[in-house]
Symmetry: C2
């Protein structure tokens, strides 16, 4: 099995090292990761600049640093390192959770999404670290992935669908199991902070203080907060299918049918 | 009605000017847009740098250029310009279509998504320009929006749901009407091009040649290609609900139930 490993924290993050080491025990693994931290880059791609790749000089696993974001890593990786095809894309372990609507900002999730758009089985993996807690417990992520590899790989997920997994950042022995989840809600307070530079000019900086006001059973947030690994099936098709019918009803009741 | 206008092509794009002019006839409008082209930036946010805003010195409409991406524009805009709240976010007119899975890369769509995550009615608007065609026909977008304002604003869309609208880049008279659509598929060929710099070192650059191999009735791609404005309801909840049940069945049949 040929495996492409990426992340958004950059090639020097211990998280991608931990993930690549698990992957290398399972298949022919190559790493293509950003040359610097690209956290919260979303599903961006680099259109206006050339994208270069350089060897990262890992001793054991072929690894390259890419002057770009995770989407670029996938595309450059596939074209330059996977001439015989790629069977699996792993993105992570992210140094922090990707839960609730934060999923939409995540470069880690975007890396997996890009793999899935290429028709490849793809999984994003993030460590559920929360405020007041420093250790990302990548070794918990690695052991969990190692132990659940077959179960994950056999899951009935067809690209462009893919998986986003969040693993509580706690000792492995304390993990209670896993839950299949849907995206929950996370709330922020004091989202943007206004500051002033030494010349009294204002600037803004995100604080990103997460206030978990509500989380319901069945959600990703609930699972991780209760010690479970959260496995969420995601899709790049963002159509709000539940609303389509409502809109048609609205249009016909308002005699606003389109000129067909 | 207080309206925040943004885009991803940057404050100097004629598209945002055309959009803001329509908005200004409908409500109290302020513009917060990137200070340079941020196309294909996805739902990124600027975490690692301070975000500054400067006046754009438009004569008629309050407008600011933001050192950031559309998500930043929304957040900085709301905090600095909408102390009494904001009722509508408009993002566009994008200088190009956002159809099919391209939606996932779009900064224009991300701007509307961010507004919707704040609980505000939000609409992304893009001009359906295709290869071999230069004119984005922003005036067609402006007239269509002007004529369909009430219909759009009254649509039963509850945030965090939002709308993505693609308008064919053709003379207004040739627009056949509009269609409520779901996301279709677009295919690329020769996606990344390898080149060599004057020192024979390789680099990569996206070509983004769109090959429209398949598009079905009901999709955004089909509507725009056939002269209709496409209105697609989107959601930031990317959970693949159709797969959730399959996964539970798989787990129970494989006796892989989570440790609950």
């Amino acid at each position: 099995m040929r495996i492409l490993v990426t992340n958004d924290d950059g090639i020097d993050s211990p998280g991608i090292r931990a993930l690549a080491e698990v992957a290398a025990t399972k298949g022919q693994t190559m790493v293509f990761a950003p040359n610097s931290d690209k956290s919260a880059c979303g599903h961006a791609m680099t259109l206006h600049d050339p994208i270069r790749i350089l060897p990262a000089h890992w001793e054991d696993i072929p690894a390259y640093k890419v002057a770009g974001v995770p989407v670029d890593c996938i595309n450059v990786g596939l074209i330059s390192g996977f001439h015989e095809g790629c069977e699996l894309v792993l993105s992570g372990f992210n140094n922090g959770p990707n839960l609730g609507f934060d999923t939409t900002y995540s470069g880690t999730v975007a890396g997996a999404m890009e793999g899935a758009l290429h028709g490849i089985k793809s999984i994003a993996l993030s460590m559920g670290i929360f405020s007041g807690q420093g250790d990302p417990f990548f070794e918990t992520g690695a052991r969990w992935l190692q132990d659940n590899w077959e179960m994950l790989l056999n899951m009935p997920i067809a690209p462009p669908g893919f998986l986003s997994i969040n693993i509580p950042a706690i000792p492995y022995e304390e993990i209670k199991g896993f839950q299949i989840t849907h995206i929950g809600q996370k709330f922020y307070e004091g989202y943007l902070e206004q500051r002033h530079d030494p010349w009294s000019k204002p600037y803004y900086w995100y604080r990103g203080e997460v206030i978990h006001k509500t989380y319901k059973p069945g959600t990703d947030v609930y699972a991780v907060f209760n010690g479970y690994v959260s496995i969420t099936p995601l899709t790049p098709n963002w159509t709000d299918h539940g609303v389509l019918e409502k809109l048609e009803t609205y249009l016909s009741s308002a005699s606003l049918s389109s000129k067909t």
